[in-house]
């Protein structure tokens, strides 16, 4: 198992987020087959119902799809996956910018700060 969850957040949401990250990072590619519900449940050390719920959530989002009798697959719809990437990025940026503004930084300072940080990182 070895999976640790934040005890204050629904576990199914935490797994949904993990799966999305795997897809955006490219660990899971368009058209890849997902592990079975049972395998995922054992891997995460969670209840199979929780994994079922993760799958319906991802399916509802259009990120994975069921193929009759074969299981669940990452969608082939590249457009949807590109959109997902953008959504994820926007989400993180929104959060970051909100925190920064609340801490009293101006938009110019934020942009400068990010550039400086990335510049330093490239050394």
């Amino acid at each position: 198992m070895g999976e640790k969850f934040d005890a204050n957040q629904p576990i199914y949401l935490q797994i949904v987020q993990k799966a999305i990250r795997q897809i955006v990072r490219g660990d899971l590619k368009p058209g890849d087959k997902l592990k079975s519900v049972r395998e995922m449940a054992v891997e995460y050390g969670v209840n199979p119902n929780t994994v079922q719920r993760v799958n319906s959530e991802l399916e509802r989002m259009g990120i994975i799809e069921a193929r009759r009798g074969q299981g669940m697959f990452v969608t082939d719809d590249e457009e949807r996956l590109t959109m997902l990437r953008t959504e994820l990025m926007d989400g993180q940026i929104t959060q970051f910018v909100r925190d920064m503004r609340e801490t009293g930084f101006s938009d110019e300072e934020i942009v400068e700060g990010v550039k400086r940080y990335l510049g330093l990182e490239q050394h």
Binding site: A7, N8, Q9, P10, I11, L13, R38, V42, N47, N49
Partner: protein, 236 residues
């Protein structure tokens, strides 16, 4: 919705000197892994024994799968006791054969598969097993029955982390969630937290809350432990 797998209707149970359950009324849903949680002496074990037909209520009714609980309920219920119920002189394999001879719903193929999964040698004598391995054997015996209700009394109690993990994995791997419901008692909520769908909280012999674990996390933003602390504080 399906009929609940377990129904307690105004159930009371007294032991000399204590009242274990007081007018407990609650339903447990089907196809879930349900944790009965609560402090020691809150009536967890008594509730489980009432479901198994090992105890009779002093008043009120306990229904399992819509049927009033009697000794006959054993057909529908597989019970994992906290205390040891195994015969030390049997080998694991003989224990499996013995169980398959007393229970019609015992799936010997599944039992063999589970032994392999849990790395248990059928030739070993029960009496020679470590505590962890005895618990593994008990899990095999319970899960190999195609009973609609599986009751596990403190399945992780006093076991080291490696054994706990293998017990949890064995449970997830071999449970048939389409047809089976698991009710387990625990006083170590942290250990089983990711496993539970539903939590039934007991205090002073009354079940005051049956709630989905993820609802507790999303609606209250609390871990099960913090939620427990809060609910127990409110009912004082």
């Amino acid at each position: 919705m399906d009929r609940p797998i377990v129904q307690f209707q105004d159930v009371s149970k007294r032991y000399p000197g204590t009242e274990a359950l007081k007018h407990a009324t609650f339903d447990l849903p089907r196809g879930k892994i349900i944790g009965i949680i609560g402090p020691n002496g809150s009536g967890k074990s008594t509730s489980l024994k009432l479901m198994a037909g090992l105890l009779q209520p002093d008043s009120g009714t306990v229904l399992v799968d819509g049927e009033k609980v009697s000794r006959l309920v054993a057909r529908k219920v597989a019970f994992l006791h906290e205390t040891d119920q195994l015969y030390g002189f049997y080998r694991i394999g003989e224990m499996i054969d013995y169980f398959s001879s007393i229970y019609d719903d015992f799936d010997t193929g599944k039992a063999r598969e589970m032994l392999q999964f849990l790395q248990l040698d059928p030739a070993l004598k029960i009496g020679s097993l470590s505590k962890g391995n005895r618990m593994r054997v008990k899990l095999v015996l319970v899960l190999s029955r195609n009973a609609p209700l599986l009751l596990l009394d403190e399945p992780l109690s006093g076991l080291d982390p490696m054994v706990r993990e293998s017990i949890i994995k064995g449970l997830i791997s071999f449970l048939d969630m389409e047809r089976q419901t698991v009710v387990l008692t625990t006083h170590e909520v942290e250990e089983v937290e990711p496993l539970l769908d539903v939590v039934a909280a007991l205090k002073d012999g009354t079940v005051f809350k049956v709630e989905e674990a993820d609802v507790i996390r999303s609606e209250y933003g609390l871990s099960l432990i913090d939620w427990m602390k809060q609910v127990y504080a409110h009912t004082r």
